[in-house]
């Protein structure tokens, strides 16, 4: 789950990181009020769940209250990579003497939290990784001990060439970031930049925190961090129906059991010249309710011209699955052709059941995909 900068800041602040004050505003007037309270100069920063805000003009320095009014007006409502800006963060503009990147993520290879940090702060770490990989210091944290004092200080000293005072602040920031990462069940946490003011004060200027969806059950309070407005309505509906769904932009709706098979199905649609409309994994048991929810989500997409079920029954009996699909389609107003491929135990009985319906049976993935593509093309 991705959360906004202002929410990530709050998590970091709770773990003792030096986050400057600031408030979020959803209107120009509110932004101005916050700026007046803080005193100019301030930064006005678009709160959107995507990167590249700066380049898109979503982050502005405001020397005066008039600036705040002008920029907040321009930024609120702006589209950034398909996301509408509904909120801005207003926060004091800091004098920057030095900028650092401090980040953490779960490293698959080591199975540990990987600290990544760089004195090349303020730019995207991917860019640093490409252009100046030696500028990134990395450290895999042993989960049994956490990020120890000497390790944190050692990283700090490497980042600022032995300046002990700065190194201590950077080390402490990394330890707090690690504590926040673990406590929040994050999958990614970045401070970019972590700055020092000319007076030597360290500040966490930006915050990006992604949370592990699998761990949300133990963070009931995080549900309220979820920005429902910023979510794609279909993805939100899928999440609420406990379906794995990603919206794409094709005309063949895909309904598959299993994530790997769902990806392979999308790939096959593309292989045969079609365009998948989505990724959708309906999970292990295809009970009618889930199928109804899934179909409803896919049908809401007006671009969808044909729907493809690809179910590898495995242990589930295919005749049961077929009955579930038929029951589900009966409950809904189906406006597009549906191709169904069912494989596994009792697949023959399943085919007999489908034969009595409008559903188009198919014996293999390839056949199903090809049929769905031509039906979609015919409907276009």
């Amino acid at each position: 789950m991705n959360i906004h900068e202002y929410q990530g800041r709050e998590i970091l602040r709770r773990h003792g990181l030096p986050v400057p004050p600031g408030q979020v505003a959803d209107s120009v007037d509110r932004a101005v009020a916050v700026a007046k309270e803080l005193g100019v100069p301030v930064m006005v920063k678009a709160q959107v769940l995507t990167g590249g805000r700066g380049k898109a003009g979503g982050v502005k320095f405001c020397a005066t209250i008039e600036d705040v009014r002008t920029h907040a007006k321009a930024i609120l409502g702006m589209e950034i990579k398909g996301h509408t800006v509904r909120k801005v963060l207003v926060t004091p503009a800091a004098d920057i003497a030095a900028e650092f990147y401090l980040g953490m993520l779960v490293d698959r290879r080591s199975g540990r939290v990987l600290v990544m940090a760089s004195a090349e702060g303020g730019v995207e770490i991917e860019q640093v990784a490409r252009e100046k990989p030696e500028a990134i210091v990395r450290y895999e944290v042993d989960p049994r001990y956490g990020l120890l004092d000497h390790q944190a200080l050692g990283l700090g000293l490497r980042l600022c060439a032995g300046d002990l005072k700065k190194a201590r602040q950077l080390g402490a920031a990394l330890q707090k970031l690690y504590a926040a990462f673990v406590a929040a069940d994050a999958s990614l946490a970045e401070i970019n930049p972590f700055i020092f003011t000319p007076a030597g004060e360290g500040l966490a200027i930006d915050a990006k925190v992604n949370l592990d969806d699998n761990a949300l059950f133990r963070h009931a309070d995080y549900e309220e961090l979820r920005d429902r407005e910023a979510e794609d309505p279909a993805e939100r509906a899928a999440r609420e129906a406990d379906l794995s769904f990603v919206k794409l932009h094709g005309d063949v709706g895909c309904l598959v059991n299993g994530a790997g098979l769902a990806m392979a199905t999308m790939d096959l649609v593309k292989y045969y010249g079609g365009q998948p409309a989505n990724f959708l994994d309906i999970g292990g048991s295809s009970n009618p309710e889930k199928v109804v929810n899934a179909l409803r989500i896919i049908l809401a997409d007006r671009e969808v011209k044909a729907i493809l079920f690809n179910i590898f029954g495995g242990i589930t009996r295919c005749d049961d699955v077929a009955r579930g699909i038929i029951q589900a389609t009966n409950q809904l107003d189906i406006r597009v052709p549906i191709v169904v491929r069912l494989t596994g135990t009792n697949e023959d009985q399943a085919r007999q059941l489908l034969a009595k319906t409008q559903l188009v049976p198919a014996a293999t993935m390839d056949e199903a995909v090809q049929k769905a593509i031509s039906l979609a093309a015919a409907a276009a």
Partner: protein, 294 residues
Amino acid sequence: MAIFVDQNTRVIVQGITGRDGSFHTQGMLNYGTPVVGGVTPGKGSQVFADRVPIFDTVADAVAATGANTSVIFVPPPHAAGAILEAADAGVSLVVCITEGVPTLDMVRVMPYLRERGVRLIGPNCPGLLAPGLAKLGIMPASIVKPGTVGVVSRSGTLTYEVVWQLTGAGLGQSTCLGIGGDPVIGTTFLDAVEAFAADPGTDALVLIGEIGGDAEERAAAYLQDRVDMPVVAFIAGRTAPPGKRMGHAGAIVTGGSGTAADKTKALEGAGIPVAQRAGDIVPLLRQVQAKRNR
């Protein structure tokens, strides 16, 4: 023969009385898997399916049955704890089927297993099926057939699809292994490949990868350097958009790495043909086998 299981495998099931646990334990028993016990706290002294004794703790189960393997069907909040319990009780192989285990739970679990020399398969995986020998997990027994092809995969139903095609083409399997789709897993692609390479019962390999991470790339490097048997691969997710989680917590392309193109390149660079479609795997494998037999 097979990897990770043999004639001495003795299995317990953690969460044996749950909905999934009981269903799949029955499936394992039906396949002839030596399930010698089950664990559900508070249900010690009950019996499952008239023949499998249930214990309160894994330690009790191991003490009473001599089990060396555990299959876990425990809900996500307690799955990591179940793995730790199994490791603590002295089993040497743990298969965790549970989907949705928090990643940092697995980060904490891994050193505990390593300290004890315990192998974990999963979590979020279908488990392992060694045709004719044992089934540990949820793979459908109907699709497999004894043979000499090793199958390793990060996904569930896509594995079934491929295994079903292999079996349909008369290519039996030594072991079908689903390692799971999560970012932090016990047995990696590379671990599986190493085990297959050392297994005299395996003479060909099918790798079913997907986007995210670099497990396939690492396996490719190993295969090129150290393994001399026919290998073909398939990578799911060629059309996945970057930054989106494709169902599996591990299936996400980040910062331009972990793409299907990267993986395909690495595999082909190691001389391993990569099927464009799942349906191409069998013909591709036959081709590679034929080339070697010339």
